[in-house]
Amino acid sequence: MSMRNKGKSPAPPRNETRVPRWLVLLGPVSLLALIAAQAFGILTSPPDRDMGHLQKIMYVHVPAAWMAMLAFTIVFVASIAYLWRRDERYDLMAASAAEIGVVLTGLALALGSIWGKPTWGVWWTWDPRLTSTAILFLIYAGYLALRGFTDDAERRARWSAAVGILAFLNVPIVYMSVRWWRTLHQLPSTAETVDSIYAWGLRLNAIAFLLVTLYLLGRRYHAARVQRMAENRLEELSLRGAYV
């Protein structure tokens, strides 16, 4: 007579670590979209009357800034959802979005600085838009640093959610800064405010950046979930005394 162990298989099933098919497909789609949008922007935009070819920097600087704002909005919504539902998936989503937001804000600041040198004559100035964006970058970098302060996942998620909600207060300030304090930085560049000849280039690059951001967010979130799964199961093993 033979009896088999009918319990749950302890080995991780393959689908736990496998990246969803839609996300795998989104990778090449977003890559091609970005190449096509940038090619369209570069090849179809005539030199601007004032800035000449420098205008083309708008196709990377503006979408990067927009997607950073979107990422921080996701942090805000996911943080509220975490405090409401206490589901760790929202915490992981908020952390993933914050990281991408920091990367994109850093990129937008760097691109703005490179754009500023030939147009304004300086790499950096304490303009309200630039300063509030730099503060935004530091706040969310602090959010990511805070997550490393404790090993207690529940406490980390609670603290992070509180910071994720409070930090979002700066996002509308950044957005409105060019209207409230009109100084050096121009008013927001949108498909409605720029010359119509540049509108489609901006729209397409924004869509391409959106796809890239969603892809990176999806991959980052998936990696975070696999990581958390490993941590949770290791903790479970430790509690059972099977692993020290």
């Binding site: 940038q38 420098l54 991408i100 990129l107 760097a110 980052r220 990696a223 696999v226 490993a230």
Partner: protein
């Protein structure tokens, strides 16, 4: 530096940042998947083996008889 050079630097920097960040994410995923597999192996070791279960079962059956 010419205007075209500034544009090229900006587009180049964008690609470098996005590609490097994507690679970092892929590496994190691979590392997390490897950790999960290692935990799975530890769980396998911690679980009672089929052979142990069979031995106990036979012994129990003998006792019952």
């Amino acid at each position: 530096m010419s205007n075209e050079a500034y544009v090229a630097v900006c587009f180049g920097l964008t690609w470098i940042v996005l590609v490097v960040y994507a690679v970092i994410i892929f590496q994190r995923h691979s590392r997390a998947a490897a950790e999960l597999a290692a935990v799975g192996a530890l769980e396998m070791e911690a679980e009672p083996k089929d052979a142990d279960v069979v031995t106990v079962t036979h012994a129990t059956m003998e006792l019952v008889r």
